[in-house]
């Protein structure tokens, strides 16, 4: 089976041609967005879009942000068209990603203005939802980063999230929130360890091992919830972690409610991303871990225990994913439903790739996905003429565009996906 690494290894030879093609594709996407904004969003739009930034009861209230809809749409279309044409004329290689990112941002802004025209809409509320919804994706992405940096492809994130959600609900119902959280982290670590054992010791194909873990966890959790929870409902009724307001910072306008009045999962995710960045890039252990991911043979020669490094890092990745999984139950609804992670683990993988195998990048990418998720939810309230199914699709389409547009610039660890046999 080909791993992404093989393709990446072949990349340098065709980089020039591939990049140019990519630049052209992004150019076409930008022009398409310009056409969309000019032909759809700028038609039959009138009035002003009002974005509420704070509630009147907040101690430091900001005035509403009012945007005239029609001029904004035309301006956005013009900028998009300029960026797109520039891609074609200049080959645009240098600023491709940046143009694409900015272009998508503009298109989204134009869309929001169009949808809100003549109405008002709480921007802060949406940003808050963005952060909340980004949490499991960011933690999934971080788990991916930690294991792929030691060259273990982790498709099993979805299963680890689900296991964390399930265990969090079960143990949380019996022993309270903190116990549930600890158990979720432990079960995630257990599955990380199992993945490492299958992949490192028993040399199962990494993707097969991941798929198996996903299947197994889905099977066990669905089985127990239909076999046991139907009868014993008290086992599936866990307490939920409430938001904790950080004094002073929590009172700031916009930033306060978005970042400093959240529950333990949001703070935990931010801390973990910071710690993981420090660990991977500023400690000796992290350097060793990365060397195992790039060139295990060389690392082995230098006396680094490749197998142990993989075991430890993949187990830690599992613990991170288990913590992220607990978000679904202990962080939001307090009860477990079959298959409730709904593919967030896979989106976490996409966030990891989008974030170029870097913890901070994965967090940023997760925020993008979280934003799309939150937007879809909030726009349902605004009554736009677009069918809600298409709004629901938009994050996935955006993911495809982003992955297709940016993949050439991001490089996986060199040994990613390859088993290592000690000689």
């Amino acid at each position: 089976m080909t791993s992404p690494a093989d393709i990446a290894a072949a990349a340098p030879q065709r980089l020039g041609k591939g990049r140019q093609r990519q630049a052209r594709i992004s150019g076409a996407v930008l022009l398409g967005l310009a056409a969309l904004v000019a032909l759809v969003f700028a038609q039959d739009v009138a009035g002003e879009a009002t974005f509420r930034l704070s509630r009147p009861t907040d101690p430091l209230a900001l005035p509403d942000l009012v945007v005239p809809a029609l001029p904004f749409s035309y301006a956005a279309a013009a900028v998009l068209a300029f960026l797109g044409v520039r891609q074609f004329l200049r080959g645009g290689v240098r600023w491709t990603s940046l143009s694409l990112g900015f272009g998508l941002f503009l298109a989204v802004a134009a869309f929001l203005v169009w949808a809100t025209a003549g109405k008002s809409f709480s921007l802060t509320g949406m940003l808050q939802a963005t952060v909340v919804r980004a949490v499991p994706i960011a933690l999934g992405g971080l788990a991916g980063v930690l294991s792929e940096r030691v060259a273990v492809v982790n498709i099993a994130i979805e299963g680890m999230l689900l296991a964390g959600a399930f265990t969090g609900a079960l143990i949380g119902s019996l022993m309270g929130g903190l116990g549930g959280l600890a158990a979720a982290v432990a079960i995630g670590g257990l599955f990380g360890f199992i993945l490492a054992a299958l992949v490192v010791t028993y040399r199962v194909d990494q993707i097969i091992a991941g798929v198996v873990i996903n299947l197994f966890v889905l099977g066990v959790t669905s089985y127990v919830s239909s076999q046991v929870y139907q009868e014993y409902r008290f086992l599936n009724n866990a307490p939920v972690f409430r938001p904790v307001k950080i004094p002073f910072l929590g009172d700031l306008p916009v930033v306060g409610p978005v970042l400093f009045n959240q529950n333990v999962f949001v703070y935990g995710a931010i801390v973990m991303v910071a710690v993981a960045t420090y660990y991977l890039f500023y400690t000796r252990m992290g350097l060793r871990a990365r060397s195992v991911g790039e060139h295990p043979r060389a690392a082995d020669t230098l006396g680094i225990n490749v197998y142990r490094t993989r075991y430890v890092n993949v187990t830690i990745a599992g613990m991170v994913a288990g913590f992220g999984g607990a978000w679904f139950t202990l962080g939001s609804v307090g009860r477990f439903d079959e298959g409730m992670t709904g593919g967030r683990g896979y989106i976490g993988l996409a966030a990891m790739i989008f974030g170029r195998w870097h913890p901070v990048g994965a967090l940023m990418a997760a925020l993008v996905f979280g934003f799309a998720d939150a937007m879809q939810q909030k726009l349902a309230l605004l009554n736009t003429p677009i069918p809600s199914e298409f709004l629901a699709m938009s994050p996935y389409i955006a993911t495809i565009i982003v992955v297709a547009g940016l993949i050439g610039r991001s490089r996986p660890p060199a040994a990613d996906g390859q088993p290592y046999a000690k000689e």
Partner: protein, 379 residues
């Protein structure tokens, strides 16, 4: 390394030359056999852990056997469940052979099935000899085109097919929800998303309805066998199949030999999608008769297991498809007879795959089942 046999290498070679059948036999027969038995035992332990008493466990396994092969009706159900799994599994196996990990069979089944339904209800009065092939073709083409989006993205931009196929799956769910509410697709007088019914001239005829009208096995099983033969021929008897396998096993060698990697990727994905689309067509024309949200019912994901279990070989995929079909049919019986949730089957399936994918693990768990000096791993 679990086996530290000092003379391992030499004796391995000698043994391989002297008795190649033994090692092959162990890998092909004993490992799967152990896998199934151990998975069933672990499944029983799972039931024990969830407070199911021993008598019920026995009853549920008897029901599992009865419901899969115990009667004509059971065999009919097994074949009915196996057909779409095998069809979609063959498509995924083609992808694996060419080094592409296509997770998108679920979406391709949905899109293919949807196209089939539209053709299936749209041409009243058309003779079955034209209508049925046309409906099947529509499914294959739609599934193939949908999958080649991911292939094209991979070839043109390098976007990894795992991510793009997952995204296409998620998109397809919403797309089907949307289409089922379009006035020309939604059944008249219904408020919920249900398509019009497929006309009789497009249905896959039931084969045994002269014995008992409740026997559901339908002409789709011929489709299944034909697809197995066709994929076998394609993979091992044609130049295209050789190119698929080469680009899967050694992309560098394929490139140096002048094979056009990009075109191959699009072709493989298209064919895989066509087979998955046929699986969807098979479901709507043979079993369901219409489309509802999520009518693929996870077949696309089970097909991944089928393809892995069958080691991406057409015959293996057929056998794995039959096994999974039997588990599916038996699992339903189990749920009815013993009151044990069918989700248990998911656990058993996962365990079977993990043991088959990890021969080293099976050998470590059951050293007495194997001759000591065989290769520890064939990879």
């Amino acid at each position: 390394m679990t086996y530290q046999d000092p003379t391992g290498k030499l004796s391995e070679k000698l043994l391989d030359r002297a008795a190649p059948d033994r090692a092959a036999f162990e890998d092909l027969v004993i490992v799967p056999l152990f896998a199934v038995v151990v998975a069933l035992i672990l499944g029983a332990l799972t039931m024990l852990a969830t407070n199911v008493d021993l008598a019920t466990i026995g009853k549920s396994y008897v029901a599992l056997l009865n419901g899969s092969v115990g009667s004509l009706n059971a065999i009919s159900e097994t074949l009915t469940a196996a057909a779409p799994l095998t069809l979609a599994g063959l498509g995924l196996a083609l992808g694996f052979r060419a080094g592409l990990f296509n997770i998108g069979a679920e979406g391709q089944i949905l899109v293919g099935g949807m196209a089939t339904v539209i053709v299936g209800f749209s041409f009243p009065g058309m003779p079955a000899a034209i209508h049925l092939p046309l409906a099947l073709l529509a499914g294959a083409v739609a599934g193939g085109l949908y999958a080649s989006i991911a292939g094209w993205l991979r070839a043109a931009t390098g976007a990894h097919e795992v991510i793009s196929t997952i995204m296409l799956n998620l998109i397809s769910y919403r797309l089907i929800d949307y289409m089922l509410r379009l006035p020309f697709i939604q059944r008249e007088g219904r408020a919920d998303p249900v398509s019009k019914s497929v006309l009789e001239s497009a249905e896959l005829p039931r084969l045994l309805s002269f014995i008992d009208p409740n026997l559901r096995v339908h002409a789709g099983i011929f489709l299944m066998f034909a697809a197995v033969a066709a994929v076998y021929w394609l993979l091992f008897r044609t130049r295209l199949g050789f190119e698929f396998r080469t680009s899967g096993e050694s992309p560098d060698a394929a490139r140096y030999a002048g094979m056009r990697a990009g075109l191959l990727i699009v072709l493989v994905m298209g064919l895989a999608g066509a087979l998955a689309g046929l699986a969807g067509a098979n479901q709507v024309l043979g079993v369901l008769g219409r489309a509802t949200p999520g009518f693929s019912a996870g077949i696309g994901f089970d097909a991944i297991s089928v393809a892995l279990l069958g080691r991406s070989h057409p015959i293996g995929v057929l056998l794995a498809g039959l096994l999974f079909g039997a588990l599916e049919a038996g699992g339903r019986q189990m749920q009815v007879d013993a009151g044990v949730s069918i989700d248990l089957i998911g656990i058993i399936q996962a365990l079977i795959i993990v043991f088959i994918a990890a021969p080293l693990l099976v050998r470590a768990l059951f050293p007495w089942g194997f001759s000591k000096l065989t290769k520890t791993s064939k990879e």
